[in-house]
């Protein structure tokens, strides 16, 4: 990291902390039980990222608006529109405008409700619970990026509800992934059809069960399965994703952990077919695997809802965990990372975050870069 960039990052960090502290130093303004909110909700994510030996980047990463409407008490609509990286330009890699959610709920009973439209895949800790103040770290975990491709959304329909004793479920039928877009470094991520004229010659089935029977504890398990080779009819690429996670919070301590694995059937023929179509073999694995464990501790609490939380997370993720016969795994994709940092909450809905990422891979040639990140994220 150059001295100039370090100074710039430090300046932003100090400015953010001073601004939020100054706001709190004002005379107390009488407010009701909560701050005001309008018909539109949403969240924002503004980052400074500085990779080792790279220039620092200021990125308005996410600008998300959520609208909802109740037709009747039992029929409701929710939509989430996200602008990523602030700017969209045709045919160039810049920002993205995504319709991440747009569904209608038919609320029937406690245990049986129907949902249809653009849905979040019920997979893992982050995909359905991704507002910036609810997770530690400026960026989402690597496992929730390259193993579980958050934010993973797709057209579909299904059921959800609570079946007693703290058990909740979601079960959806959705459009599948497009296996020809899979890659060696980001796994199944680029295979998301994102609800844009999604091919449904085959469909995928997905579900999640959660147990929230003890205050502070959430145990979850998710699964996804679907044939994903609709663009190459003679292929039979069944993709399955399995996941298990835990979150537990007691007093000032919060711990969470997640394990996820992806199985890609017929990966050998998938590589050969993709190689014939593009001229380059994508070297797609037949299994991907990742897991992480995180501990966070509320080291400082002052006034109503003002906290400083320190955290550390270890992640291990390999997008070439098992290769099909005849294909060699590249060591640079067998990675792990330590992320340590802090989040200051001047309000429970605003998080000012700082962290440092130590990343390693088994490769001695392609070095995974370390990085320094600052961010401010808020929910409204």
């Amino acid at each position: 990291m150059t001295t100039q960039n370090m100074k710039f990052g430090s300046s932003i960090c100090i400015w953010l902390l001073l601004t939020s502290s100054a706001a709190l130093a004002q005379p107390a303004i009488s407010e009701g039980p909560t701050s005001a909110t309008g018909p539109i909700s949403g969240y924002m994510d503004f980052h400074f990222n500085k990779g080792e030996a790279e220039d620092g980047v200021l990125d308005f990463h996410r600008f998300v608006l959520i609208v909802n409407h109740s037709f009747t008490p039992r029929i409701r609509f929710v939509a989430e529109l996200e602008l990523e990286h602030a700017f969209i330009e045709g045919l160039e890699e810049s920002g993205e405008l995504e319709l991440e959610q747009a569904y209608v709920d038919f609320l029937l009973t406690r245990s049986f409700n129907v949902r249809a439209g653009m849905l979040l895949v019920p997979m893992g800790i982050i995909n359905e619970r991704h507002e910036p103040p609810v997770y530690m770290g400026v960026e989402r975990p690597f496992v929730d990026t390259v193993i579980i491709p958050t934010t993973w959304f797709e057209n579909g329909a299904g059921l959800f509800g609570e079946i007693g004793r703290g058990f909740r479920y979601r079960a959806y039928v959705m459009a599948p992934l497009n296996a020809l877009e899979f890659s060696a470094d980001e796994g199944i991520r680029n295979g998301r059809q994102k609800g844009s004229r999604s091919d449904v010659r085959n469909v995928a089935y997905t579900g999640r069960v959660e147990w929230v029977g003890v205050p502070g504890l959430t145990l979850g398990a998710s699964a996804w399965s679907g044939k994903s080779s609709f663009l190459a009819p003679r292929l039979d690429v069944q993709v399955r994703v399995g996941e298990a996670d835990v979150r537990y919070r007691r007093n000032r301590l919060e711990v969470r952990g997640e394990f996820a694995q992806v199985w890609i059937d017929d990966a050998e023929r998938l590589n050969l077919t993709a190689g014939q179509l593009t001229g380059v073999s994508p070297n797609i694995a037949r299994q991907l695997r990742g897991f992480y464990a995180e501990g966070a501790y509320r080291v400082w609490q002052r006034g109503p809802g003002r906290d400083l939380v320190g955290f550390a997370r270890y992640e291990n993720f390999d997008t070439q965990f098992r290769m099909p016969s005849g294909f060699i795994p590249l060591k640079q994709f067998d990675r792990d990372a330590w992320i340590a940092g802090a989040a200051y909450f001047p309000d429970p809905d605003i998080a000012v975050k700082v962290d440092y990422v130590w990343q390693r891979s088994l490769s001695t040639v392609v070095i995974a870069p370390n990085g320094f990140n600052i961010g401010i994220g808020w929910w409204f």
């Binding site: 039980p33 909802n68 008490p73």
Partner: protein, 126 residues
């Protein structure tokens, strides 16, 4: 004079209502809200029972509404205390309670159930 005093006492008793003298203790139920669940998510009470619900949040502000009743309050954000609401349990049945303030992607998952039992039926079962 004695008749007037007796009449005044009888009138006072009438005005105090039918539950005067049979003071059943108010039942306190604590509920915790967090994206996107209430804990506990099922609460069992007896019809006619006086309930005081003390609801707090572990993150953002949420709403707390029990369908079919007048209970509809805002739960303050974490660290800003709890909201307390007192009501008499309605007729036996199942009443959905839910978050009424958009709180994130899983807002509509945030529901629970108030199960109101018939106390006389419960006693007869014993």
């Amino acid at each position: 004079m004695r008749h007037a005093t007796g009449l005044a006492i009888a009138l006072a008793l009438l005005l105090r209502g039918p539950d005067a003298g049979s003071q059943t203790p108010r039942r306190v139920v604590r509920v915790s809200a967090e994206r996107f669940a209430f804990t506990p998510s099922q609460i069992v009470v007896d019809a006619g029972e006086e309930i005081e619900m003390r609801v707090s949040s572990d993150d953002t502000a949420h709403g707390f509404h029990i369908a079919g009743t007048s209970v509809n309050v805002v739960i303050p954000k974490r660290g800003r205390g709890e909201v307390s609401v007192t009501f008499r349990a309605p007729e036996p049945g199942r009443y959905v309670f839910e978050c009424t303030r958009m709180c994130g992607a899983g807002h509509h998952f945030m529901r629970g159930e108030l199960l109101v039992r018939n106390p006389s039926a419960n006693q007869s079962r014993k």
